[in-house]
């Protein structure tokens, strides 16, 4: 029905989150029909992001500068360290504009069933970074894995003298930070409780 190039494009598109084969075909068609105003700019944006964006060695965020813009912003509070599961959660926190400290992106959550342990999450590195902070805010999701990871980190930080808090109200059980509205996150941030 379609040539091999288009077939390949559809296949790759269908691997994007939220896109199945059917919507991938629709997206491919949409791109082809708008070759100059959409498809080429997209291809260029993809190529340049692939070349320049990398993981920040300090916090785990994605940016084209090293360290990332958040880590190198002098107006941010070094005393506050917010621990999130992934960059999506970092972005969700940033959208609220309610937080002006630093971040630590774990890149996952503890899961024995998926074979993800403390070493995979670089928790030792987090403990080292936390020594320089006043307060560590654990903003992992309210899922079993998120709460287990938060509990584990709180345990590892116990006795280091740094205050540890977690997001409090408004985050429903099973809630992924990324899907919550910004007002809910700000409220949870203000009402954080110590762990």
């Amino acid at each position: 029905m379609v040539g091999p190039e288009l077939e390949r494009l559809i296949q790759v598109l269908s691997r994007l989150p939220g896109l199945g084969p059917r919507s991938a075909r629709r997206a491919a068609l949409h791109l082809i029909e708008r070759k100059d105003v959409l498809m080429r700019p997209l291809a260029e944006a993809l190529a340049s992001a692939a070349d320049s964006v990398r993981r920040c060695p300090v916090c785990g965020n994605f940016d084209s500068v090293e360290p990332c813009a958040i880590c190198s912003d002098p107006r941010r509070d070094d005393g506050l360290l917010c621990v999130v599961a992934d960059v999506g959660s970092l972005w969700a926190m940033e959208r609220t504009g309610a937080y002006a400290g630093r971040y630590h992106v774990l890149g996952g959550l503890l899961s024995a069933l998926d074979g993800v342990g403390p070493e995979d999450l670089g928790i030792a590195r987090l403990v080292t970074r936390a020594a320089a902070a006043r307060e560590v805010i654990l903003a992992t999701p309210a899922t079993v894995e998120g709460q287990t990871t938060a509990h584990y980190i709180a345990d590892r930080l116990a006795g280091t003298g740094v205050a540890v808090s977690g997001l409090a109200h408004g985050v429903p059980v099973g809630g992924e930070l990324d899907y919550l509205d910004d007002g809910t996150i700000s409220a949870a941030l203000r009402a954080r409780r110590s762990l």
Binding site: A112, L113, V144, Q147, T148, D155, V173, G174
Partner: protein, 392 residues
């Protein structure tokens, strides 16, 4: 909270399936059925497709339906591999008609749900329709292992407290993680502690919800309804006992400590040896003062019916929304008096009930209060004559 057939609700306000459409579901390539709000009686030979139809209705609620089947098991065998199936219904109730659709889309392993034509989450179905069912497999509920009773219990609890499903799922998840970690040598004690904390928090929540639900149900079951026996319900489980004794917070601490102490034992057993996943539901036939498991088959069935009717009353009192009742082969072990009494109760309920049987005559005493369908090799035909007409 009693259901008096005299003040039978205005049939137009009863929660009812008005139209049901099945596509490649079990033995049905396609089926369209229109019904009015009265109780529905489906009769037909063994293997005709009666239970499959009730199962389709059970998919209008969250979960895996009344046979706990996978999405591929319910797909019609003769349809191509991985083919879609669908159950669509128009429900009418106090809030007006709602369209519900559910099924598997091509190539997907997840159940899709649509409410009023828009994609929805399965748990959103709760606000619209709920269902309670009795199947022949449950005839052995009181004599077989605790697992079946625990599932029955948790479905009843969930019907009263929707948060229970999330707590139970979180508890199970943390428990599986802990078991895996123990099997792998349990190296990281802080990780185990974190998982035991999750088990303790969610486990105590589960126990509290179970206690509250069983107390309501026991109160509703304590009085006999017509010839249906009074039943007494109680929970046999440490965590439920601790919760009843000292509250959920104390139970949480005790479970956390007990899990910590049980690490070596659980590692050897390859499973958690303590917790609400081991709780049993103890049911007694009050009139005979016997555990239900020691009563006759017919008495056990009558006790089950008592519990289901009590749950329907509790649910209606809590949410104002009565559940659909799916009663598979319900007449089988009941005598004529009990059948007549059951039909009286069902005629007065605020939600439609669906019943199956092989013999039309067992439904005679329903008369015009019910509607009748004949199921024959995956087709369903409305019987315009009352079953009594045929046998007069």
């Amino acid at each position: 909270m009693t259901t008096d057939p005299e003040d039978a609700q205005d049939a137009s306000r009863r929660l009812a399936v008005r139209r049901l459409t099945l596509t490649d579901f079990r033995c049905y390539p396609f089926l369209r059925l229109e019904a009015d709000p009265r109780p529905v009686v489906l009769t037909g030979a063994n293997g005709a497709g009666k239970t499959n139809l009730l199962e389709a209705l059970s998919f209008l609620t969250p979960g895996r339906g009344m046979r706990r089947a996978t999405l591929s098991e319910v797909a019609r065998r003769e349809a191509q591999d991985g083919a879609p199936w669908a159950v669509a219904a128009v429900l009418d109730g106090p809030g007006g008609p709602v369209e519900i659709g559910t099924g598997r889309e091509p190539g997907s392993e997840r159940r899709t749900v649509r409410i009023g034509g828009s994609p929805a989450k399965a748990r959103e179905l709760d606000g619209i329709a709920s269902a309670l069912w009795l199947t022949p497999a449950m005839d052995r509920l009181f004599t077989e292992g605790a697992g079946g009773r625990r599932r029955f219990l948790d479905r009843l609890v969930f019907g009263q407290d929707h948060g229970h499903a999330a707590a139970a799922a979180a508890y199970e998840h943390a428990m599986r993680e802990r078991t895996r970690l123990l099997k792998a040598g349990g190296g990281d004690a802080a990780w185990l502690t974190a998982l035991e904390d999750a088990m303790a928090r969610h486990g105590a929540t589960m126990a509290a919800a179970r206690n509250a639900a069983v107390a309501r149900l026991d109160a509703a079951c304590a009085e006999a309804v017509g010839p249906f026996p009074a039943a007494r319900l109680a929970l046999a489980g440490e965590v439920e006992g601790w919760t009843a004794e000292g509250g959920a917070a104390a139970a949480e601490d005790r479970l956390r400590a007990a899990l910590f102490r049980a690490r070596a034992r659980d590692e050897a057993a390859g499973a958690a040896t303590i917790g609400p996943h081991r709780t049993d539901l103890a049911v007694r036939h009050a009139g005979r003062d016997l555990p239900a498991g020691q009563c006759s088959t017919g008495e056990q069935k009558a006790v089950l019916v008592s519990i289901v009717l009590a749950q329907a009353r509790v649910r209606t009192a809590l949410s104002g929304l009565a559940p659909l009742l799916l009663l598979d082969e319900v007449a089988a072990h009941l005598d004529a008096t009990r059948r007549a009494a059951l039909y009286d109760v069902l005629s007065g309920l605020n939600a439609q009930s669906w019943m199956t049987g092989t013999d039309e005559r067992t439904f005679e005493s329903f008369g015009e209060r019910a509607q009748y369908f004949r199921v024959e090799s995956a087709t369903v035909v409305k019987n315009d004559f009352l079953p009594t007409d045929e046998h007069r």
